[in-house]
Amino acid sequence: MKHNTSIRRKRLYITILKYCVLILISLLLLFPFYWMVITSLKSSTQIFVFPPELFPRHITFENFTELFNHMKFFRYLWNSLLVSCVNSFFIVLISGITAYAFAKIRFAGRNIIFIFFLAGLMVPVEVITVPLYFMLGKIGWVDKLRSLMVPTIFGSGGVFGLFILRQFFITIPDDLCEAARIDGCSHLGIVFRIVMPMAKSAIATVVIFTFANCWNEFFQPLIFLSSQSNYTLPLGLAMFSDEGGTKWHLVMAASTLATIPLLTVFYMCQDKFIDSMAMSGIK
């Protein structure tokens, strides 16, 4: 009996310790967000109060209205949304069709060709951005939003989609596809009517991963885009922070606005989100 209580007590201590560690880390990770939001609600004079107020006595939304004079927030939001949505849609569409071909059609050389595609996973975007810029300049695509779309759809993003979707399509029984063939369904018909509807969760993984990546991408927008009206959110935010300098109340307001949209989506479907992102790590 005595032995048992000591084990139980030990377990209790471990549990308490566990919660302490987790709460501490959570506070550390959430604090920057708190500080960002709080600072964005302070007036410009409150910023210089020493020591800074952890719980501001007055809050104001002036910063946000002032911000819209400096930064075309809604334009950036729209650009980010457009790039992320277009990329997600076309990656599912194009790599879906390609993945079906690799998974279900036994054409010659398909394994070798698939490995050729997979090799794309080895090439980080940062590495090919300089030559890509050179190429896009030649065809007049610099400072166009499609410079963030087409190379991603057929490059890193597409290859990732292809990989994930093919993995899943393989698990769909061949009989199902063959039965549809006998009923006179075309291959594309099978993709859209049978395979894709069955692969909802794999598609969700690809969409979430693509969307989040395109939404947060900074390097390519920085290099490919130049007009303010084409900026995506991270780019607009970085440029504003460069010029805003010590106007921290405005910079934090901009950061808050730039952070809210994706975090909202994240909190709405966190489990799917986390699983999808983790998939990319295991690829």
Binding site: L22, I25, S26, L28, L29, L30, P32, F33, W35, T39, I47, F48, P51, I94, I97, T98, Y100, A101, F102, R106, F107, R110, I113, F117, G120, M122, V123, P124, E126, V127, I128, T129, V130, P131, L132, F134, V150, F154, G155, G158, V159, H187, N216, F218, F219, P234, L237, A238, M252, S255, A258, T259, L262, L263, F266, I274, M277, A278, G281, I282
Partner: protein, 300 residues
């Protein structure tokens, strides 16, 4: 059309269908993935600047890179330094967190979500907030240090602190990722092994060392390589927080590529740096794949 088709064998028809279906992706892939790599290697052997057309100069860029470019050496060292600090910390903390969290308990989903929140945030916003926290003048970190009687430190303008600070900022942002990977690896370890070990009277440390660690070593290794690759691609936090400075103390590969190409307009030289980075990542990925393949065979 119909007649032609009838002339083909079933095999040929299957091949044609297959090729037709992969062709859009294949063309795009060759244009936007393979061609840039070829163009990069070609440009790396030219003296192309935006103001002067490409001129072939053989391996001169590479010779200069390795023999006569102190900034490149600084860059390489900073990247290695970043990796050496970041990877062990990241691995240990994530493994620790995974061990705390892999068994179901009240609030596990909540903590997992919090851990993942910075990961979903854009690096630009995250780094800007940390830049504000690290301000010398009224930055919160210095204020807190003041409570303990410590003098304020000029964090952001300090050659010794530049890389460690970016490591901390990157670390806190990315904790969620590897933790989740380790949690799923830990959940895959069959419970029966632990039960058997318990019967043998093995302590928790010995169980961890003899059962858990070997069983999840594959995941650890894969995460390790991915994390190292991630270290070689660091950019946004450097751009936002230190712009490579002070001096060259936080120049990293991608930042140096950026500066060389888009500040100095030396596209040829930037392509040479890109090629070097490409080769490093290629080798790392090749190792990862080789090891994974071996393990996959081992398991079946």
């Amino acid at each position: 059309m119909e007649r032609k088709r009838r002339g083909l064998t079933l095999k040929q028809r299957t091949n044609l269908t297959g090729y037709a279906m992969i062709s859009p992706m294949a063309i795009g892939y060759i244009l936007f993935m393979i061609t840039p790599v070829v163009v990069m290697i070609y440009l790396s052997m030219t003296s192309y600047t935006l103001l002067k057309p490409p001129k072939f100069i053989g391996l001169d860029n590479y010779v200069k890179l390795f023999t006569n470019d102190p900034t490149f050496l600084d860059t390489a060292w900073n990247t290695v330094y970043f990796t050496l600090l970041f990877v062990p910390l990241n691995m240990l903390i994530c493994l620790g967190l995974a061990l705390l969290m892999y068994k179901n308990f009240k609030g596990v989903g909540f903590f997992r979500t919090i851990l993942f929140t910075p990961y979903v945030t854009s690096m630009v916003a995250w780094a800007i907030v940390w830049k504000y926290l690290f301000q010398t003048d009224n930055g919160l970190i210095n204020v807190v240090m003041g409570w303990f009687g410590l003098d304020p430190v000029n964090w952001l303008y300090n050659e010794k602190a530049a890389i460690p600070i970016s490591v901390v900022v990157t670390l806190l942002k990315g904790l969620g990722m590897n933790t989740v990977i380790f949690i799923s690896a830990l959940m895959d370890v069959p419970q029966i092994y632990y039960e058997a070990a318990s019967l043998d009277g093995a302590g928790s440390w010995s169980r961890f060392k003899n059962i858990t660690l070997p069983m999840i070593s594959q995941s650890i290794f894969l995460a390790l390589i991915l994390t190292i690759i991630g270290c070689f691609k660091v950019f946004a936090q450097i751009y936002v927080m230190s712009k490579g400075g002070p001096a060259t103390s936080s120049y990293v590969f991608v930042y140096y590529i950026y500066v060389t190409a888009f500040r100095y307009f030396k596209f040829g030289y930037a392509s040479a740096i890109s090629t070097v980075l490409f080769l490093i990542i290629l080798v790392l990925t090749a190792i990862q794949w080789a090891v994974r393949k071996k393990w996959v065979f081992y398991e079946t």
